[in-house]
């Protein structure tokens, strides 16, 4: 493969800033003709931002893109398409009610005397699809074919339109094994034709099966580029989730010292997470580790009642409790800072002050408003304690940076004086300063005797503050690490050690 020939696409120092966050920090990416290049990273690592900068959906704030020795700066996906960069998304962006041929040639149908020549279009479509090993009737509506076939049709259209670089954004996410084979056979053909293909996926097995090289992103930075023939799944997972950590593991608090606060027995929900047992004691931080889709978030939501369990039982200090909805969980002094801060956490147009008191007020009921003086006292106290940077308590929370929004959410729950605090990705998408402060806060709360459950994709973080770590995989609890066992190496091996059946999801 390739390095003898020059690269087809070369990105240097691509940066993209969002208010309060650095989405991409001087990212380099080089693509050679005839290679499949995997782009890896957890959610929020910057994969999709990078793609959007490449295709012109976003304007990059810095950096250069060189396509075949010519610097380009596409302003729209149409423009990048014309230049030769085609994209196929996970959810097929075609029109299901039109025929296969119409989908392929929409906007450039072959004309005959001012009218579309159906016959010619169908013949062209058949020829085109035959090149991809697909023999179907192009006159049929697209929706009559499986998602895999639709995916191939989308790829065919993108290649027809562009033909230099093809970006596949999770093309296999909703396909079964045979269908994946179909898509992969198409990718192999395109590779042979000399296209450069960017392959984004969460399935590591597939990465190793089809890709030549992989670039790993974390927190908007390139962590490394590896030739896949020369690396292992364990190394890739380590790169994705982070390391350089052990040094920080000092005086770890002993696990299982306090009284048991929450106990879950055989708790689960079919299709969401396998039944699990879990105890959390006062004064301990239980970490939930695992790759995206391993069931971290599902576990957190299940315990908070945001998803209802269909089996098992929950106990609070030995007594059985019901957790059918968040309201019941809040009544038991549970609290949850959700993963998706924007959609499940903040109430964007309400003021910072109102966001801070929201949970407390909801628990009190609407007819018992918190007195104004108390509201101000609470809000000011938490703004000071958590060092929330804002112009005024009256400003809408959506104007704050990610880190400050997260702190406001923490304040919202701390104001309810919780006994059990669940944090789902508490440091995702926030700046370094706030990051460190939130980790320090977790330690402080643990010392104050709270029980904490923290789900995170940042292994260094989990290693730093957890007294126990539970490793999840394929929506199941795999292993529990205690005390000295808590190292990133152990977490990685727990995630990776089994022979992979299907996918790392």
């Amino acid at each position: 493969m390739a390095s003898a020939i020059g690269p087809v696409l070369e990105c240097k120092g691509i940066s993209k800033f969002f208010p309060g966050a650095i989405a991409l920090d001087a990212v380099d990416l080089t693509l050679y003709p005839g290679e499949v290049h995997a782009l890896l990273g957890e959610n929020g690592a910057g994969k999709s931002t990078l793609i959007k900068c490449l295709t012109g959906a976003y304007r990059r704030d810095a950096g250069t893109i060189v396509l075949e020795n010519r610097e380009i700066s596409p302003n729209s996906t149409q423009e990048s398409q014309k230049l030769g960069i085609g994209t196929v998304y996970q959810e097929v962006n075609l029109l299901p009610n039109l025929s296969v041929a119409e989908n392929l040639f929409l906007g450039r149908q072959p004309m005959k005397r001012g009218l579309i020549s159906q016959r010619k279009m169908h013949a062209m479509a058949s020829d085109l699809l035959a090149e991809f090993g697909l023999v179907i009737n192009p006159a049929e509506p697209l929706s009559s074919y499986s998602v895999a076939v639709q995916q191939v049709i989308a790829i065919a259209r993108a290649v027809e339109l562009s033909g230099k670089v093809l970006i596949l954004d999770e093309p296999t996410a909703s396909l079964d094994r045979d269908e994946v084979e179909l898509v992969f056979s198409v990718i192999e053909k395109l590779k042979a034709r000399g296209l450069a293909i960017v392959f984004i996926t969460h399935f590591l097995d597939q990465v190793f099966e089809i890709s030549d090289r992989a670039t790993i992103l974390r927190n908007g930075r390139v962590i490394g580029t590896r030739r896949l023939a020369e690396t292992t799944q364990t190394e890739i997972i380590t790169l994705m989730l982070g390391r350089q950590l052990e040094a920080r593991v000092q005086d770890r608090a002993p696990a299982e010292t306090g009284d048991i606060l929450v106990e879950l027995r055989n708790y689960g929900r079919r299709g969401v997470i396998e039944p699990f047992d879990l105890t959390v004691r006062k004064g301990e931080v239980v970490g939930l580790a695992g790759l995206l889709g391993s069931g971290r978030t599902e576990t957190a939501n299940l315990i908070f009642g945001a998803i209802q369990a269909d089996q098992g039982e929950a106990l609070l200090e030995g007594g059985k409790i019901s957790l059918k909805n968040p309201r019941e969980a809040v009544a038991h002094r549970f609290a949850l800072c959700p993963e998706d801060r924007k959609n499940d956490g903040i109430v964007g147009d309400l003021s910072v002050r109102e966001n801070i008191i929201l949970a407390l007020q909801a628990r009190q009921g609407w007819f018992r408003p918190l007195p104004k003086a108390k509201v101000n006292e609470l809000a000011e106290a938490y703004v000071k304690a958590l060092d929330i940077r804002l112009a005024s308590l009256d400003m809408p929370i959506r104007l704050l940076s990610g880190g400050n929004q997260q702190k406001v959410l923490l304040a919202r729950w701390l104001a309810t004086n919780p006994a059990f605090l669940i944090l789902d990705e508490p440091t995702r998408g926030i700046d370094v300063g706030a990051h460190a402060e939130i980790i320090a806060l977790i330690e402080r709360l643990r010392e104050d005797g709270l029980a904490l459950l923290v789900a995170s994709s940042e292994m260094e973080e989990l290693v730093a503050y957890s007294t126990r770590v539970i490793v999840l995989r394929d929506r199941r609890q795999m292993r529990e690490l205690k005390g000295e066992e808590i190292t990133t190496a152990n977490i990685v091996s727990a995630i990776a050690d089994e022979p992979m059946a299907g996918a790392v999801r």
Binding site: R327, D344, V347, L358, A362, R363, P369
Partner: protein, 346 residues
């Protein structure tokens, strides 16, 4: 406290300006518009008429504001008016007192509202469809109550609600002012207003914060039904009869319009009942201009549409943004010019 008054004033300033404009228009076409006289123990005048005739829309928009704040809409209020009017009329015709009739009508309205609320909050039907059911079926129900006739009555107590006065002021004015004040006070002095806004802005976040969104959503539809019932009783009392076919016809649209003119977003969230009430008055003042100008009646709806379009254009985000840009560019030193100034001498 002063702060609070200031922010409210800033919120309703556009509505006040528009209302003043439309009232001025009234004055131009009819110079006696602002004259108020006291005769036979009652206030008379065009301005009083605007306040009086605007009562049904004003009442409807109180409940509608809350419903829209939760990201919903209530199309059934016109039909609920007809039901409530019919129930009140049927009860007094059956020989019950006006108090019983009023109570019965209000209960019927609240029941209709609760039905809407259950469809929206429990069964998760889209509000526009859920309330469409009762909008269509409601007049049928009202006809069943009146047995297909216009049910007339003479009960003086009930009639007083529509055309009577209290210390010289027409009763409907006092009713909508009173209810508006009460509901505003309840939502702002308790946490109800904030929780409703939270649901309208982000229901998922609100639910995860422990807010009982189901009960709150049912409540706002119930309040809307209650307001509609009160409006229905006033309209029936005014004409001394319950007309199942025409009472409150198309008024749901006026109520929604009042909320929109009040600057409340149809996407839910922050709301102001006072601004909606001003919106209702603006609509009634527009009606008044058309009547007073002596235009042929066939022009009425067209002119009303033109005035409403003008109001909405003024409030549209695009125009607001353009005005903002205009103001910003009029600034003596826009950002960037300082840098240029520094560089220019070289």
């Amino acid at each position: 406290m002063m702060n609070h008054v200031n922010s409210t004033l800033r919120r309703i300033a556009p509505q006040l300006v528009i209302l003043a404009g439309v009232l001025l228009l009234n004055f131009l076409v009819f110079p006696d518009f602002f004259r108020i006289e006291f005769q036979h123990g009652r206030l008379f005048g065009n301005l009083i008429d605007v306040l009086n005739r605007g009562a049904p829309t004003a009442l409807l928009c109180i409940g509608m504001t809350l419903v829209i704040a939760t990201r919903g809409i209530d199309l059934s209020v016109g039909a609920v008016m007809a039901i409530a009017g019919a129930v009140a009329a049927a009860l007094v015709v059956d020989g019950h007192s006006w108090q019983v009739a009023l109570l019965g009508a209000l209960c019927a309205g609240a029941l209709c509202g609760a039905w809407n609320g259950v469809l929206v909050a429990v069964l998760r039907i889209q509000p526009i469809v859920a309330t469409l059911v009762l909008m269509v079926a409601g007049r049928g129900i009202a006809q069943l109550v009146t047995e297909g006739t216009i049910l007339t009555f003479v009960n003086p107590g009930l009639v007083h609600l529509g055309s009577g006065t209290v210390v010289g002021i027409p009763t409907p004015i006092l009713i909508w002012l009173g209810l508006g004040l009460i509901v505003t006070a309840v939502v702002r002095k308790t946490a109800l207003g904030m929780l409703i806004e939270a649901i309208g802005i982000n229901e998922s976040s609100s639910r995860l914060a422990g807010i009982n969104s189901r009960v709150l959503i049912i409540s706002v539809y119930l309040i809307s039904g209650f307001c509609a019932a009160l409006a229905g009783v006033i309209v029936a009392a005014d004409i001394k009869g319950a007309d199942a076919n025409n009472a409150g016809l198309w008024l749901e649209l006026d109520a929604i319009l009042a909320v929109v003119i009040g600057g409340n977003s149809l996407l839910g969230g922050r709301f102001s009942i006072i601004a909606s009430l001003l919106g209702a008055l603006i609509i009634q003042s527009v009606n008044s201009v058309i009547l007073l100008s002596g235009m042929p009646p066939e022009f009425n709806l067209v002119i009303k549409a033109l005035i409403i379009i003008a109001i909405l254009v003024i409030q549209s985000p695009t125009v607001k943004h353009a005005l903002y840009i205009l103001r910003a560019s009029a600034d003596p030193l826009p950002p960037g010019s300082i840098k240029e100034a520094k560089e220019s001498p070289q």
